[in-house]
Amino acid sequence: MNRNNTNWLILIIFLLGIALWIDLSKEITLANPFNDTALFTRNVEARLGLDLRGGLQTLLEADLPESATIASGELEVTRQILESRANALGVSEVMMQTAGERRIVAEFPGVSNPEEVVASLQQTGLLEFVDMGTNPAAPGTLIKTDFAQSEDSNSTAPAATPTTDLAATPTTEPTAEPTTDPNQPAETIYHTVMTGADLTDAFVSTDQLGTPAVSFTLTSEGAVIFSDYTSSHRSQYLGIVLDKRVISAPVVNEPITDGSGIISGNFTAAEANQLAIQLRYGSLPVPVKVVESRTVGATLGEESVRKSLIAGVIGLSVVILFMLLYYRLPGFIADLALISYAILALALFKLVPVVLTLPGIAGFILSIGMAVDANILIFERLKEELRAGRNLRQAIDLGWSRAWPSIRDSNTSTLITCLILYVFGNTFGASIVKGFSVTLALGVGISLFTAIIVTRTFLHLLLDNLKLTEHPRWFGLEETA
């Protein structure tokens, strides 16, 4: 047996084994043989796009004139704020990505209340000064406050009209004691002293030590509240909280009575600037509006998955049958390659992971047809070489080498189209177009491997072990050839 082919066979079986393992499991884990810990864990559940599982997709665009330039970091900050806001709503698996220079794509799988989600995204963010008591919360901590608690069922004040509420309860009850179930200390609800509505300005400055800091000034009302609070809470922590996330929690060193203050906290110049922007604009460094929204109900999605699976199985079966009937033995081997293709492609989609959308599945099914093309090209060449009187082994080698340039050039042009589709889809957050291009491109790539390497290895191995040379009919040729 040819050693080269044996090596290929081992590689193929190895790859197929791994692929099958991935195809059949929801999570893969590699155990460390020396102790029992996992070296590598990855969730490989098939990811379905919103059109298949149902949910909401929105495209948000900067609500600024076309001519306004948006600093590269600002859109990213906006995205992060929106993401934490969406997470605070309790929507799971939110995915947000910036698309181009002015847009953000947001996907919310399985939400049943798209109206609320969209409304919360467009709301300007909520800045709060929170009484943290003795808790020096680390920046980034998500906390709950008693101000317009959206999850709080007995709250009567909706989040939309906060200012009136604030004037009524300024500093009368400055306790930072947990007010929730004592069994869940993580759910502490802190008291909001005042909100960003009382802020007039915020700008970058430096503190006594010369490190960047953020200075702010307050309205006269705010100055009174702030003065009262800082007088009675010396040495306690004052949380500066944006969209329920702690930005910094400085200690109150002395009463602040002049309606201005400074927030210091080892900021870099860029961080201080970002914070100042966040304070000034309430929240979002870039205001956004919804320019596109798509909701798909879960039922429609389920039906689509079922139907396209059926279509895929039928399409694959017909192609397999056709190859077997037309090309006989090589056709059978091409079928094996095709099944390997399906196994490998599915594993790769799960591993990358590629989010499967309806057009994505169509792209995959289309690539089944194209996967066979390389084999058809090769087998037609093989037949020609056999007719020209070459022996089988020569014919196989020549068939492959002569078919290669056309396989290479034709697939390259398909890949070029995929690339352009991908860029197009990415710019507009059109995940359906993007999904199609990714699955088609991966499909083309894998099909080159299976059609060329897998088919050739199997065919050579068969030749080595059987006396096929005496049966031209097995290759779809007349006996007299």
Partner: protein, 311 residues
Amino acid sequence: MNIIRNRYFYFLISLLVIIPGLIFLIINWVNTGAPLPLGIDFTGGSLLEIQFEGSRPAPDVIQDAFLKSAPESDPIVQPLGEDSYAIRSRTIDDATKGQIVSELESQHEGTVTELAFSSVSPAIGAEVTRAAGIAILMAAAAILLYIWYAFRGIEHAFRYGTAAIIAMLHDVFVVLGVEAMLGYFLGWQADALFLTALLTVIGFSVHDTIVVFDRIRENSHVYRRLNYETLVNHSIVQTLDRSINTQLTVMFTLFALALFGGESIRHFVIILLVGIFSGTYSSIFNAAPILVVWENREWTNWFRRPERSRA
């Protein structure tokens, strides 16, 4: 089999398909201001698909519900399947849509299910349209360059690229024409998926053409003394089995998708079927014969002795 000898006959068949398509593109343009009925992806607007348990209400009821919450929304109500409606309108936001659905829920006895809702602002639509044009031009340019590069070894490499692009444009016009007819008779609208299908057809068309050209490239090294016409014809015939079989396998999978893949991708799949059939036709009967026409500079004879080239 001599395909090259009958080249003008095959060109005629192509024209017989493309010209009616062009006529419908013009009719649509005159009627609606756009050559294709465009979906909300390109024009902006909203599309709501809604399903009613039991018997669905009359279209007027839906229309009224829309006008009540959004007087300016200009809704067009179309039945969808047995128990659903698709309603196109001017862009409405999610909150307004919520009002309309709850209005319908209050009037209908059974459950009302919102199947899908899309809303695209007109500005985005216009930008998508522009980008779609750019995407197609970029694809054409990139492919032309690639073919030019891949065929750099043989004489007149540029001709191969150009012929492939002409064949590709042929397929683009066949697809656009069929879409225009479908739009005219069945009210189908071109959406982002249509664009995806069109770009796939472009990729496939060139894919197919390259296989034929590759054989010409190879044969031109082997049969140096053969005249060009015979060489091209020989190359087409040699690749014919492959062209037909590949065509068939792709068609099998597409037919399976069209028949069993469900309503939401049927339009997409039908456009792909048309385009891929056209793609195979154009690579055999247009792209390669164009090379011969170019080699012989036949356009100098077109108006003097047209009968000679058809002989």
